[in-house]
């Protein structure tokens, strides 16, 4: 199949076939990342800008490694060091980057929808690296890739997402992606963080972690996002972790071969105990490794769209 998108902004707009095509491309990229010489010349001469208006270590370094493995020229922009501080608007920033010859812009912003604004203003391809509470497509794709790697197929799996659903772009992207690939989803967390409107065919809401854990094939733990004011939605971290923290004891309720995931960074002792984080069924570090291959696939598909259509 031919990938027909200039931008990759949300999982919501991708079809199941498109998602699977990205995951298949990522498998080939994973072979590249397992070689001794991990670089291929594919994006030689193509300029990629990492435009980060929000702090990020993991996602930004993962994209940067992916870009380097594909031999792209890289420009890093972080809001604290850039002209944004001097009052430049988003669309002016975009036009300036385009004038410098940027072909692909990887963007993170605290405002939901910011990548769409940018996409309207520039002819560069936009890859969303997380926008506000809206979506985080690369994280979701690497989660799907990892689940597929461990479980073979995503269809009919029982996937449990635990924690701050309300403020989580990872949860939103994953709900879209998992539903499109045929998984059954349970959401669990404090009532204040798991609003009713998430309930839909294929998605059930729980407030009791023990109950929700029954029959779980995959558990995706979400981070308590201090910067997104998670803490205002429940009385105390201690109480949160008592009710919604994953412990070895609670884990026994899930299926024996349950897979434990977390987008990172982990707050050990809050979302899960160290025992769980380091359990042999935890694939948290595989997620990080797979993230590079998935991001290489996203960059490669955007670049090949550009070579076919511009």
């Amino acid at each position: 199949m031919e990938f027909k998108r200039k931008n990759i902004i949300s999982i919501a707009e991708l079809s199941a076939d498109e998602i699977l095509h990205i995951l298949d491309t990522a498998s080939s990229m994973k072979e590249v990342t397992s070689r001794n010489m991990k670089k291929v010349p594919t994006l030689k001469g193509i300029t990629v800008v990492n435009l980060f208006f929000e702090p990020s270590t993991r996602t930004r370094s993962s994209f940067e490694i992916a870009e380097k493995r594909l031999s792209a020229d890289i420009l890093n922009f972080t809001s604290s060091q850039s002209s944004v501080v001097k009052g430049e608007s988003l669309s002016d920033t975009a036009k300036n980057l385009e004038s410098m010859g940027a072909s692909i812009i990887v963007m993170r912003h605290s405002m939901s929808g910011a990548p769409w604004v940018l996409a309207r203003e520039t002819s560069a391809s936009i890859i969303n690296a997380g926008d506000g509470r809206h979506e985080h497509p690369s994280q979701s794709l690497l989660d799907l890739f990892t689940i597929r790697q461990v479980k073979g197929e995503i269809k009919n799996l029982n996937v449990l997402i635990v924690g701050d659903i309300l403020n989580s772009r990872v949860a939103r992207s994953n709900i879209h992606g998992l539903l499109k690939l045929g998984a059954k989803i349970k959401l669990v967390g404090p009532g204040s963080l798991v609003p009713d409107y998430f309930e839909q065919p294929g998605v059930k809401i729980f407030y009791n972690l023990e109950k929700a854990l029954e029959n779980a094939d995959v558990i995706i733990m979400l981070r308590v996002q201090k910067e997104r004011k998670s803490l205002e939605y429940f009385p105390s971290i201690r109480e949160y972790s008592r009710f919604y923290g994953l412990t070895g004891e609670k884990l026994k309720i899930a299926k024996n071969d349950v897979t434990i995931m977390h987008p990172g960074p982990i707050n050990r002792g809050v979302e899960m105990t160290s025992e769980v984080a380091d359990d042999s069924r935890s694939v948290i570090l595989d997620q990080v490794t797979n993230g590079i291959a998935v991001r290489m696939a996203m960059l490669y598909l955007s670049a090949s769209w550009r070579s076919n259509n511009l």
Binding site: S28, M29, R35, M37, K39, V40, T42, I46, S307, N308
Partner: protein
């Protein structure tokens, strides 16, 4: 479009066998040899050649496959890219005699990319090239060491290779694009 068969199933079998014997004649130490098939049809031909070599010499010659998509020079030149497939080189290429196998040698660009790709896995002693059809019209200074059939073609013509593993039959045809 006019179609002319240039290799029948039997011809194809014979040409492959001849390539195998030329490889044996040409390479003193069979233990240094590794075969690498270029996807898609070079993989099948490469596998056939490896199996024949193995049965004649009673050896287990290393075999790998290469997808050269990531090494192509046309990502910047408006050409539709084929789907990305997996590369699998399960042996150390260091100091080996690598024999690249492809179905048709045309511009030489695929082979250029394949040489780059192999070099990324290490430093082979020698890289050689075996092709079923050499149709001429090179755009790069590249030549094959083992050739099933050399044929003069025009750039408007097309060569189609059918192999059992993928196409249910063994056959090579030349398509004439009569001014269309």
């Amino acid at each position: 479009m006019k179609e002319k068969t240039i290799l029948s199933s039997k011809d194809l079998e014979r040409k492959t066998t001849r390539i195998v014997h030329e490889i044996l004649e040409d390479n003193n130490d069979i233990n240094d040899i590794a075969i690498v098939g270029i996807k898609t049809r070079g993989e099948y031909l490469g596998r056939r050649i490896t199996e024949k070599l193995n049965s004649i010499e009673n050896k287990n010659i290393p075999f790998g496959t290469l997808d050269i998509t990531l090494y192509r020079d046309d990502l910047r030149n408006n050409l539709i890219l084929p789907e990305l497939k997996e590369t699998d080189i399960p042996f150390n290429v260091e100091n080996k005699t690598i024999i690249l196998v492809d179905d048709v040698l045309f511009t030489g660009r695929t082979i250029r990319a394949a040489i780059d790709a192999v070099m990324d896995f290490g430093r082979p002693a020698i890289i050689k090239l075996a092709v079923l059809i050499d149709r001429g019209l090179r755009e790069l200074p590249i030549q094959a060491d083992y050739i099933g059939l050399s044929i003069e073609t025009a750039s408007t013509q097309k060569i189609k290779v059918f192999l059992k593993e993928k196409d249910k039959k063994d056959k090579v045809v030349l398509l004439n694009n009569n001014g269309i």
